[in-house]
C-alpha cells in the first residue's frame, strides 16, 4: 500500500496539518512579525485552555458521546475555588485542587445521568450546561469574582524562566491524554466502546465504568482549563466566563480528525485543531482584519478543514473498496 500512496494521498491524510501550514505561511507573508517567537508563544498559550478542554472532549467524542456542559463547568469550578480563596485566604495550589474537585464532581454528575439514568449525553449535558451556569450565578449573584493577587502571579509564572505556565499545563495534559489513550487499558477500551458498545460489553469490558470515567475525566479537564484560563486573565471571573467554549472544544477535536460518531480520533490531532483555530483568530487580529469579517474567515477555514477531511475519507473508501479479495497474509502483515 505505502508504495502506491501518492502525494495527493499524503496531503489528504494530513489535511489539517497541511491547512495549518498553509494558513501559517499566508499569515507570515502578510506580516513577518507573525513568525516572532513571542507571537508563536502567544498562540500556543491562548490555545492552551481550549486545548485542555478539547482533550477531555476527545475522550468523550471517542465514545460517540458529547459534552456540551464544559463551558459551564469551567465557570462553576473557578467560581467555587475563587469564592473559597477569597473567603478563607487559601493558597493557589489548594484552590487549584478545589477547582479540579468541582470539575470532577460536575463530570461525575453528567456520568451519573448518562450511565445510571440512561439520559442521552446530548440532553444530559444540555441540562447541566444550564444548571452549571445557573448554580454559578446563584453563588455569585451574578457578580464578578476577583481572585487575590497571587493568582495573577501564578498565571504569569514562567517555567524554567521561559515557558509560560499555561503552556506547561497544556503540554502535560496533552502528554497525559496521549498516554491514557494509547498506552493504558482504559484508553484502548474507550476506542473499543466507540467502535461497538454492544461488542465491548460482550467482550467483558465494564462499559458503564469506562463511560463514567470518560465524563468524569472530561469534567476534570474542564475544571483545570477554567483554572488555567482565570490565572491568565488576571484573576477575574465574570458571568460570561467560559460561555460557548464547548463549541470551540468540539471544533478543535473534529478538526483534529476525531469523529462525532465515535472510535476515531487522537490527542495529537486535537492539539493541531486547537492550535489551528487559535492561530486563525490571532492572525486575523494580528493583521487587523475588519472585526465583522473575522468570524466569517474563521468559518471558512473550519469549513475547508472538514471539507478536506471528507475528501480524505472518500478517497480512503475508494482505496479500501479495491480489496474484493481477502487480503492475504503477506500483504497485510507487510505494513
Amino acid at each position: 500500500m505505502n508504495s502506491r500512496m501518492n502525494i495527493r494521498q499524503l496531503l489528504l491524510n494530513n489535511s489539517t496539518i497541511v491547512l495549518f501550514i498553509v494558513v501559517f505561511i499566508i499569515f507570515g507573508i502578510w506580516s513577518p512579525l507573525f513568525y516572532s517567537p513571542e507571537n508563536i508563544t502567544n498562540i500556543i498559550k491562548q490555545a492552551a485552555f481550549t486545548g485542555i478542554v478539547a482533550v477531555g472532549m476527545t475522550f468523550v467524542l471517542l465514545t460517540a458521546g458529547i459534552d456540551l456542559s464544559v463551558g459551564s463547568n469551567m465557570y462553576l469550578s473557578v467560581v467555587v475555588s475563587g469564592l473559597l480563596m477569597r473567603s478563607t485566604g487559601i493558597d493557589v495550589l489548594p484552590a487549584l485542587i478545589i477547582s479540579l474537585i468541582v470539575g470532577t464532581l460536575f463530570g461525575a454528575f453528567n456520568a451519573f445521568c448518562i450511565v445510571r439514568l440512561k439520559i442521552i449525553p446530548f440532553m444530559t449535558t444540555l441540562g447541566t450546561l444550564i444548571i452549571g451556569r445557573g448554580i454559578g450565578t446563584a453563588l455569585t449573584e451574578s457578580k464578578q469574582i476577583d481572585f487575590p493577587e497571587k493568582m495573577n502571579d501564578f498565571g504569569q509564572t514562567l517555567f524554567l524562566g521561559i515557558i509560560p505556565m499555561p503552556i506547561v499545563v497544556f503540554a502535560l495534559v496533552m502528554l497525559a491524554g496521549y498516554v491514557l489513550l494509547t498506552r493504558t487499558q482504559f484508553g484502548r477500551q474507550i476506542y473499543a466502546i466507540g467502535n461497538d458498545p454492544e461488542a465491548a460489553r460482550k467482550a467483558g469490558i465494564d462499559v458503564d465504568r469506562v463511560m463514567a470515567l470518560v465524563y468524569i475525566l472530561c469534567g476534570f479537564f474542564a475544571g483545570l482549563a477554567g483554572f488555567v484560563l482565570v490565572s491568565q486573565l488576571g484573576g477575574r471571573v465574570d458571568r460570561s466566563f467560559g460561555e460557548g467554549r464547548e463549541f470551540d472544544a468540539i471544533a478543535a477535536a473534529v478538526l483534529g480528525g476525531t469523529s462525532l460518531f465515535g472510535g476515531v480520533g487522537n490527542v495529537f490531532g486535537t492539539f493541531v485543531g486547537a492550535l489551528l483555530i487559535q492561530m486563525v483568530q490571532t492572525g486575523l487580529q494580528f493583521n487587523l482584519v475588519n472585526l465583522y469579517l473575522q468570524p466569517m474567515v474563521k468559518a471558512v477555514v473550519i469549513f475547508l478543514a472538514i471539507f478536506f477531511d471528507s475528501l480524505r475519507e472518500a478517497s480512503q473508501k475508494r482505496l479500501k473498496r479495491r480489496f474484493i479479495r481477502p487480503v492475504s497474509a503477506s500483504t497485510a502483515g507487510g505494513d
Partner: protein
C-alpha cells in the same frame, strides 16, 4: 389483525399470548400510570399538571389574560422548532437556525424598511446599493411587504439548501456544517447592518408579527371603552401562520411519500437508499424546509418587535432543540412528530413563565430550569422504556 395461524410459527403464538397478557397488566393504579406514561400526550399531561399545581399557589398564572398571552408566545418558537423536528427526524441537526433568523430578518428589512439613518448605516457594505436614506430596495412600494417576506423565505430556504448540499454531496457531519454556516451568516448579518437594528418597518409586516384576527373580552361591559389590556388576543396572525405551518408539516410527515421517506432515512439510511429512496434530495429538501421554517419564525419574531434584527440569542437554540426532544423526537433520527414538538414548545414556554411567576430570584432561575429539563428527559427515558416493554412483549 391478520394472524396467519400455522403450526410452524412460534411467532403467532407469541402474539396471541401477549395480547392476553397485555390486558392483565393494564389493570390497577400502576397500569394507569403506565398507560399515562406511554401515551403520546404524556408531555402535554405533564405540562398541564405542572401548570395546575403551580396555579394553585400563584393564581395570577391562570388568569385569562396571562393564559392567552402565554399562548401567543408559542407560535414563533413553534415555527422554528417544526423545521428542527424535520431535521432531527432524518437523523441530522441544524445549529444554524438562529443565524438564519438573523440574516433573513435583516434581508427582509433591507427590502421594505422606510428611511434609514446614514449615521448608523453608512459604513455598511451595502450602503448606497441595497440601503439608502430613502430606505430599503422597495421602500414605500405597496408590494414591499410581500416581497420582503418572500425574500426572507427564499434566503432561509437557500441557506438550508447550502447546508443540505454540504451534508449530502461532501458527506460532512451536520453538526459541523451547520456550526460553520451559523458562524458565517451570524457574522454576515452583523456586518451588513454594522450591528444596528433596522427600524422603519411597515405596518403590514408588524401585523404579521402580532396582529389579532379575533379578540375576546371577558367580563361585564361597564364603560363604553374597553381598556386595551382587557381585550385578549384569541386568533392572531402568528397563530394562523404557525398553526398553518404545523398542519402542513404534519401533513407532509404523516401523509405523503416525502414524509415516509424521511422516516426511512432517519431509521436506516443505507436501507432507504437501496430501496430506491432518493436520499440525497430528500435530505437537501428537509434542510431547505428547516431554513424556510426559521425564516417564517423570523417574520414572526421581527414583525412583533418591529425591527430587522441581525442577531438572535444563541441560547434560543437550546429551547428549540430541547422542545423537539422533549416532545419525543429522537436525536438519533427516525422518530418524532409535530404534535410532540408542539407539546414540547408549550412545556418550555409555560415552564419559564411558571418559574418567573414563582418569584424565583433571577440568580437561581437558570439552575431550576436546567433541572426541569433533566427531569423531563428522565421521564422520557422511563416512558420509552415502558413503551418498549409493551412492544417487545
Amino acid at each position: 389483525m391478520a394472524i396467519v395461524q400455522d403450526k410452524l410459527s412460534p411467532d403467532s403464538a407469541f402474539a396471541l399470548t401477549n395480547k392476553a397478557k397485555r390486558s392483565d397488566r393494564f389493570s390497577g393504579g400502576i397500569g394507569m400510570l403506565r398507560r399515562l406514561l406511554v401515551s403520546d400526550y404524556f408531555v402535554l399531561y405533564l405540562t398541564l399538571l405542572f401548570f395546575l399545581v403551580a396555579s394553585i399557589f400563584y393564581p395570577t398564572l391562570s388568569n385569562p389574560a396571562s393564559i392567552t398571552n402565554q399562548i401567543q408566545n408559542f407560535w414563533p418558537l413553534l415555527a422554528v422548532a417544526i423545521g428542527q423536528t424535520f431535521v432531527l427526524i432524518i437523523g441530522g441537526i441544524d445549529l444554524s437556525v438562529i443565524a438564519v433568523m438573523g440574516i433573513t430578518s435583516v434581508a427582509g428589512a433591507l427590502v421594505m424598511a422606510e428611511n434609514l439613518d446614514p449615521a448608523f448605516f453608512d459604513k455598511s457594505p451595502v450602503w448606497g446599493s441595497l440601503m439608502t436614506e430613502a430606505g430599503g430596495v422597495l421602500a414605500g412600494n405597496p408590494l414591499a411587504v410581500p416581497a420582503a417576506v418572500l425574500t426572507m423565505l427564499l434566503i432561509g430556504t437557500f441557506i438550508g439548501w447550502l447546508n443540505g448540499v454540504a451534508i449530502t454531496r461532501f458527506n460532512l457531519a451536520p453538526f459541523m456544517v451547520t456550526l460553520v454556516t451559523s458562524t458565517f451568516f451570524a457574522a454576515l448579518a452583523l456586518w451588513l447592518t454594522q450591528s444596528r437594528n433596522i427600524s422603519g418597518i411597515p405596518e403590514a409586516y408588524v401585523t404579521l408579527g402580532k396582529g389579532d384576527i379575533v379578540s375576546i373580552y371577558l367580563g361585564a361591559k361597564l364603560t363604553p371603552d374597553i381598556a386595551r389590556r382587557d381585550i385578549l388576543p384569541f386568533i392572531t396572525y402568528p397563530f394562523m401562520i404557525a398553526a398553518g405551518l404545523a398542519v402542513v408539516a404534519q401533513f407532509l410527515l404523516s401523509r405523503t411519500v416525502f414524509g415516509r421517506r424521511m422516516f426511512s432515512i432517519g431509521t436506516n439510511r443505507k436501507a432507504a437508499e437501496v430501496s430506491g429512496v432518493p436520499t440525497q434530495s430528500v435530505i437537501i429538501r428537509v434542510y431547505m424546509f428547516c431554513g424556510f421554517c426559521a425564516a417564517m419564525a423570523s417574520v414572526l419574531y421581527s414583525g412583533r418587535l418591529e425591527i430587522g434584527q441581525p442577531s438572535f440569542p444563541n441560547n434560543l437554540l437550546l429551547d428549540i432543540i430541547g422542545a423537539a426532544v422533549i416532545g419525543g423526537t429522537s436525536l438519533f433520527g427516525g422518530k418524532g412528530s409535530i404534535r410532540g414538538t408542539f407539546f414540547g414548545v408549550a412545556f418550555f414556554v409555560l415552564l419559564l413563565n411558571i418559574l418567573n411567576a414563582m418569584r424565583l430570584s433571577p440568580f437561581i432561575i437558570d439552575a431550576v430550569k436546567g433541572a426541569f429539563i433533566l427531569v423531563a428527559a428522565l421521564l422520557d427515558i422511563i416512558r420509552t422504556r415502558v413503551a418498549n416493554q409493551e412492544q417487545r412483549v
